[in-house]
């Protein structure tokens, strides 16, 4: 397949692995945080860790939109579907994310709520157009990558005069999350030497917004694509920066990312959304100016205003280490629930639900590296 297989080529992978092995300083370690779940997924799905020298470690970052959504927002979505009887349209991953008391949208659906899995905002719009008598709410989540399509949907709904469509907005911003991670780095036992920067997010926002990383935090950052060779080449670029004592923003993903990003998408986001004062992230807490809400001009399409739902606290499952896993402080196998009561079939925390979550990646692709009796026992009863 053109433009895909080139980035999974075994020969090139061997060459890159040999370069990395040849260039790492055996006297030190290289702890590289891959920001996105897409990177984590590539590392595990293709077994990239097996091709790395033993002193190069990947630390999994918070870049999984499903994982960082706080439980309170899931509870609110469930309430929208159950209490207001709306048709709630959601991306598939969100269906199984546990809310408080282990409720979830998929359980709400079984209990009679009208929850529909959609593949795009356009599907949700189509449902609204087809049934003007029903209130249709799109459960919008994601980083800057999925924000422009939501903006397009809002503009289309406005243009079509749809009065039965609204958006429950949970779009979040990458740079504030990165800042939060780096601000606590070192204090909680997590040590990061360099960052593999967001891939698809950067196609929208460009590489310029990461300038603060080397300047304020003295860490190199390489914007890295999501294919396994992208990840490996980016790791090599970070190793070279660290060896040379350089500390810069570099762009490995040049085939898609420019310094200024996608101006058109940025303008669209600016027209339809505005920054929230603060937003809660699972694992990272309340971060100022870290998320978007629907701008006043589009407020009539804001599901939070149309269907006021009380904001609950949101109760984490006791023992669930998703918050620490999302900060890179703990690895999934450090969680007592991992593989015992928490598996993809029966997830306790969001990181086990999403295919981009670190726990799901460890469990589904990598648990043979940690074949403790507990993990194995859970495996055969899965």
């Amino acid at each position: 397949m053109k433009y895909v297989e080139e980035f999974r080529d075994q020969g090139l992978a061997r060459n890159l692995a040999a370069s990395i092995a040849g260039e790492v300083d055996p006297g030190r370690s290289y702890r590289l945080m891959e920001f996105c779940g897409g990177h984590t997924h590539a590392i595990f799905r293709y077994g990239v860790q097996d091709l790395m020298p033993p002193n190069l470690h990947f630390i999994h970052g918070p870049g999984c939109p499903v994982c960082v959504l706080p439980i309170g927002r899931i509870d609110q979505a469930i309430a929208l579907a159950l209490d207001y009887g709306v048709t709630l349209c959601t991306y598939a991953d969100l269906m199984r994310v546990p809310g408080s008391e282990r409720r979830s949208l998929i359980k709400a659906k079984a209990a009679g709520a009208d929850v529909r899995m959609v593949y795009s905002t356009q599907d949700a719009l189509a449902i609204a157009r087809a049934d003007p008598g029903r209130q249709v709410v799109f459960f919008a989540i994601g980083f800057e990558t999925t924000t422009p399509p939501t903006a397009v949907a809002l503009r289309q709904a406005r243009a079509a005069g749809l009065t039965n469509f609204s958006v429950f907005c949970n779009h979040v911003l990458t740079p504030p999350a990165l800042r939060a991670i780096l601000a606590t780095e070192g204090s909680e036992g997590v040590q990061i030497d360099g960052i593999l920067g967001p891939s698809h997010v950067s196609t929208v926002i460009g590489s310029a917004p990461y300038g603060f990383v080397p300047v304020e935090f003295d860490k190199p950052l390489v914007i890295a694509g999501f294919e396994p060779l992208d990840v490996m080449q980016s790791a090599l670029m970070l190793v070279r920066q660290l060896n040379a004592g350089r500390c810069e923003v570099e762009n490995q993903y040049t085939r898609a990312v420019t310094p200024e990003g996608n101006r058109k998408a940025q303008a669209l986001i600016a027209e339809v959304f505005e920054r929230r004062e603060t937003f809660e992230w699972r694992g990272l807490g309340h971060l100022p100016h870290s998320a978007l809400k629907i701008a006043p001009d589009y407020a009539d399409l804001d599901a939070e205003l149309r269907f006021p739902v009380a904001r609950g606290e949101g109760h984490e499952v006791k023992g669930c280490e998703c918050p620490s896993v999302l900060r890179g402080v703990k690895a999934p196998v450090d969680c007592k629930l991992f593989g015992t009561v928490c598996t993809p079939e029966n997830p306790m925390g969001s990181c086990m639900v999403s295919s981009e979550g670190a726990c799901a990646a460890y469990w589904s692709y990598g648990r043979f590296r940690h074949p403790t009796d507990v993990v194995a026992a859970a495996g055969v009863t899965a």
Partner: protein, 353 residues
């Protein structure tokens, strides 16, 4: 049959309207409307000596040897998909389940649950497709049943088929017989059926020329068993795909498996569709493929026998059974690293970013 009689002598003076008619509740009532549906639609297509007797059961003398029996419900949506439909699928599915014991399938029975409002033209097309599949396979449908449920209580038509077959002497194929060292083979490209069906789902339609691989595999199995009677395991990787089937076999046999991604045959179009949808071909359903596990010394012979058959032309050796108390199925990725190929968790769903 009644079609050929002069109008006055037919049991049902007005024929079923196979062009514009629909199934209604009277077609399942046990009365004359049901008798007419059976006679003019089901019997017309599926006709054979045993069915023609009109009993509630088919009576036959079993041949010598071990009998095997299997049943399989079919609820595919949409009913018609590129390369097949629920009719031929329901014949192939059960023939394959019987054949995976190394057996020669003998007879099928079919049970239909029809939804009120189903166009008779669709039902006619589906039963015709069943009849052709059964006839091509040489395995007649000798007993059947029809029920009709109210609109909204089913999805057009559900078909359950049951099959019996007989295992040749000296053949002992079972999912618990995989042993460390055994070779793992697959009979051809994986994921064709699942991608063909998904390409026609209303909320997911995308352009692809992939056809379902739905096929009866008993001919291929007969050739394989003739070449290597000592095959340990056979299974058709339907729902959950190759990955889930290998995990089932690993658990049943108490072994691990190590396979090589680069050796698994996948069509480029299937790979492309999976990329687009965020799916992994090893989890996508097949309806005309099988996995075989045999002693290492027989692997080349078995592979040659498979490749010599039209349904196994792209067969490949994809890995080995290993001793592993954890019963992990591991795969060496195309890149050279290793990962687990786990059971499918939930439905395979697209990634969102």
């Amino acid at each position: 049959m009644s079609d050929h009689l002069p109008k006055a002598e037919r049991r049902f003076p007005i024929r079923l309207d196979l062009r514009h008619g629909t199934v209604d509740l009277s077609h399942g009532s046990g009365g004359r409307a049901m008798a007419q549906l059976i006679e003019e639609l089901f019997q017309r297509h599926l006709d054979n000596d045993l069915l023609r007797q009109g009993n509630d059961q088919a009576a036959f003398d079993p041949p010598a040897g071990r009998l095997v029996m299997s049943t399989d419900g079919h609820v595919v949506s949409p009913l018609f998909f590129p390369g097949g439909d629920i009719g031929c699928l329901s014949v192939h599915g059960t023939i394959n389940d019987v054949a995976m014991a190394g057996a020669r399938p003998l007879y099928l029975a079919a049970s239909f649950i029809l939804e009120e409002g189903l166009p008779l033209a669709d039902l006619d097309r589906i039963v015709a497709s069943m009849a052709k599949a059964a006839s091509d396979a040489g395995v007649p449908v000798v007993a059947g049943d029809t029920k009709v449920v109210e609109r909204g209580k089913a999805d057009g038509v559900f078909i359950t088929t049951t099959g019996v077959g007989v295992v040749p002497p000296g053949v002992d194929i079972s999912g618990d017989r995989a042993r460390p060292g055994d070779a793992i083979l697959v009979s051809g490209t994986i994921g064709d059926h699942g991608v063909a069906v998904m390409s026609r789902r209303e909320n997911l339609s995308f352009g692809t020329d992939i056809l379902s691989d739905t096929a009866a595999l008993h001919g291929l199995v007969a050739a394989m068993v003739a070449a290597v009677p000592g095959i340990h395991c056979l299974r058709d990787p339907t729902r959950g795909g190759l990955a889930t089937t290998l995990n089932e076999l690993a658990r049943q046999s108490g072994v691990g498996m190590r396979i090589r991604e680069a050796d698994i045959p996948v069509r480029r179009q299937v790979q492309a569709a999976c990329e687009l949808l965020g799916l992994d071909p090893v989890y996508v359903a097949n309806e005309g493929k099988l996995i075989a596990i045999c002693p290492p010394g027989d692997a080349e012979t078995l592979l040659a026998a498979m490749q010599a058959h039209p349904l196994g032309a792209q067969a490949a050796l994809i890995g080995e059974v290993v001793a592993d108390p954890h019963q992990f199925v591991q795969m060496q990725t195309r890149l050279g690293g290793w990962r687990i190929v786990d059971w499918l968790a939930g439905e395979q769903l697209p990634r969102i970013c």
